[in-house]
Amino acid sequence: MNQVTTLSSQADALECVTAEGTGKVFPGPVVALEDASFHVKRGEFVSLIGPSGCGKSTLLRLISGLIKPTAGRLEVFGTLVSGPRAEIGMMFQKPTLLDWKSVFDNVLLPITLAQTVTKADRKRAMDLIHLVGLKGFEFSYPRQLSGGMQQRVALARLLNTGAELLLLDEPFGALDEFTRERLNLELLRIQSDLNATILFVTHNIQEAVFLADRVFVMTPRPGRLAATVDVPLPRPRAIEMTKSPEYNDLVFNIRDTLGGFI
C-alpha cells in the first residue's frame, strides 16, 4: 500500500481509477467489454448502470484484479492492476457469508486471512458490526439472519478489509424495496464517514441516480461505456430528493440514453 502511494505522483493523488481503452474478450470469442476509457476520483461515488450483458460486472472484476484485461490500460491508485489488492474490496449480490462462522467471525475474516488477529482487530470488527446496525447480533449465525441483515454483515466484512476502493456488484439487488432503500441510505452515510471511493453496479436507474456523483451508462453487445452523466444533486441525500424535478430529469435522461438499447 505504501508502495502505491509513493509511486503515484502529486498530480495523480486524486486519481483513483484510470481506464484507457480497456477491453475484455473471453474465449469464444465473446466481447464482454470494449474500449472503456474513464477516470474515477478519490472519494467519488460512481454508479454503473445498464441491461444484462453490458459488461458492468466484467468492468468491476477487471478493476478488482480478479480477471485481466485483454486490451488497453487499467490503473488503480496510479499502478497497473495485475491482481487482487488490499486497497480494493469487493461485495456481491449474494452475501457470500460463511454459514459456519458467527457474524463476528465473518466480519473478522479479512483479518484472519491477512495476519494474526489482535485485540484491536476484534474491537474494530465489533465497531463495524455496530456501524452497519447489527448491535445485538454479533454472535448470531447467518442462518439466523434475514437477507438484509446478511448483506449488512457482508458490508461490515468489506469495510474490515480496510479497502479504500469499494466495488459493489448489485449488493442489494436481491432484497425487497424497503430494505434496499434503507441500506442505500446507510451506505451513503458510511461512505461520507469513511470517505471511500465506491463503484456501484445496479440495473435500477433511480437507485443509480440517487446514490451517485456520476452515472456510467453502459450498453450491451458488445459491452461498452455509452455515456457518463453527472449528478449535481446536493449531499447528504434524502428520500425527499426523489421528488425534485432535477432528480427526475436525470432519471429520464438516462432512460432515454438506454432506451435505444433495451
Binding site: 456481491f92 449474494k94 486471512l113 449465525y141 442462518r143
Partner: protein, 288 residues
C-alpha cells in the same frame, strides 16, 4: 412453522394414537404373527425359529454362557479400524484430487475401476495376503467403505460456489486458506453423508472377511450355527449385528449433526448463546 408441530402433537390433534404406540402395535403384531406361524407349523421350525426360541438362544449366548461378547467386540473393532482406514484414505485422496487437477485426472480411471469391480471379490485375495487374523477383515472393510467416502468428499470439495471463491480471491487468500476456511467446511455436510454410508459398508466388509476365513467374530458364529442348523442361535447373532449396525449408524448421525451444526436451528441457537456468554464473561473480567 411446520417444524414446530411435532408428529405427536399432530396425531393427538387428529385424535389418533401417538406415533411411538403405532410403532409398538406394528411390532407386537409382527412378532405375534411370526410366533403363530411357527407354532401352527405354517412354516417349519427347522427353517424359521420362533421369536421366543431366538430370545432364549440369545439369553443363553449372551448372558448364561456370555460367549457372544468376545465375537461382538472383535467384529466391532474390525469395523471401526476398517472404517478409520478407509475414511482416512478416502478423504486424503479426495483432498489431493480437489487441490490438484493433474492428480485428479491421473487417478480417476483407477477410481472408476475400483468402483465397477465388485469389491467383495477381493476378499479371498486379501485373506491370502494377510492371513487369518483381524488384519484382512480390517483391510476388506476399508476397501469397501473407501469409495463412497472418496467420491462424496471430492464432490463436496469441488462444489464451492464461484462468488464465495471470488470473495476469497479478492481478499488475496492463499490456496491453503481457501481450502481451510471455505472448501473443507463447505464440504462437511457431503463428507459426513459419505461417512454415514461408509460405516454401514465397513460392517458388511468385516462380515464378508469373516465369512471367507476367521475363527472369531459374529460372522463366524452365524456361519457355524447355520451349518449346525442351530437357527435360533444364528438369528440371535444376526440381531446382534443389527444392534451393532444401529449403534454405528447412530454414532455417525450424531457426529454429523454436531460437525455440521450450522444446518440445525437448535444447535446454531445454542452455539450463538455460548459465544455471547463467553464474550460477556470476557467483558466482565476486563471490567473487574
Amino acid at each position: 412453522m411446520s417444524a414446530e408441530t411435532t408428529p405427536i402433537a399432530q396425531s393427538a390433534r387428529r385424535g389418533r394414537l401417538p406415533v411411538w404406540s403405532q410403532h409398538l402395535i406394528v411390532f407386537v403384531a409382527f412378532i405375534t404373527v411370526w410366533e403363530l406361524a411357527v407354532r401352527n407349523e405354517w412354516v417349519s421350525r427347522l427353517i424359521l425359529p420362533s421369536p421366543f426360541d431366538v430370545m432364549f438362544a440369545w439369553w443363553d449366548l449372551a448372558i448364561v454362557k456370555a460367549l457372544i461378547w468376545k465375537h461382538f467386540f472383535v467384529t466391532l473393532v474390525e469395523v471401526l479400524a476398517g472404517f478409520a482406514l478407509g475414511a482416512s484414505f478416502g478423504l486424503a485422496i479426495a483432498i489431493l484430487s480437489a487441490m490438484n487437477k493433474t492428480f485428479r485426472r491421473l487417478i480417476s480411471p483407477y477410481m472408476v475401476a475400483l468402483q465397477v469391480t465388485p469389491r467383495i471379490a477381493v476378499a479371498p485375495i486379501i485373506v491370502a495376503w494377510l492371513g487369518f487374523n483381524m488384519e484382512p477383515k480390517i483391510a476388506i472393510a476399508a476397501i469397501i467403505c473407501f469409495f463412497p467416502i472418496f467420491i462424496n468428499s471430492l464432490t463436496g470439495l469441488l462444489q464451492a460456489d464461484d462468488e464465495r471463491l471470488e470473495m476469497f480471491e479478492s481478499m488475496r487468500a492463499s490456496q491453503w486458506q481457501i481450502f481451510r476456511h471455505l472448501q473443507l467446511p463447505g464440504a462437511m455436510p457431503v463428507i459426513m453423508a459419505g461417512f454415514k454410508t461408509g460405516i454401514s459398508l465397513a460392517l458388511i466388509g468385516a462380515i464378508v472377511g469373516e465369512f471367507v476365513s476367521a475363527s472369531v467374530g459374529i460372522g463366524v458364529l452365524i456361519q457355524r450355527f447355520s451349518f449346525q442348523l442351530l437357527l435360533p442361535e444364528a438369528f440371535a447373532c444376526l440381531i446382534m449385528l443389527t444392534v451393532m449396525g444401529l449403534l454405528l449408524y447412530g454414532a455417525a448421525t450424531f457426529a454429523d449433526r454436531r460437525v455440521v451444526f450450522w444446518r440445525s436451528d437448535d444447535l446454531v441457537t445454542k452455539s450463538a448463546r455460548r459465544l455471547r456468554a463467553k464474550h460477556a464473561a470476557l467483558l466482565k473480567g476486563r471490567a473487574d
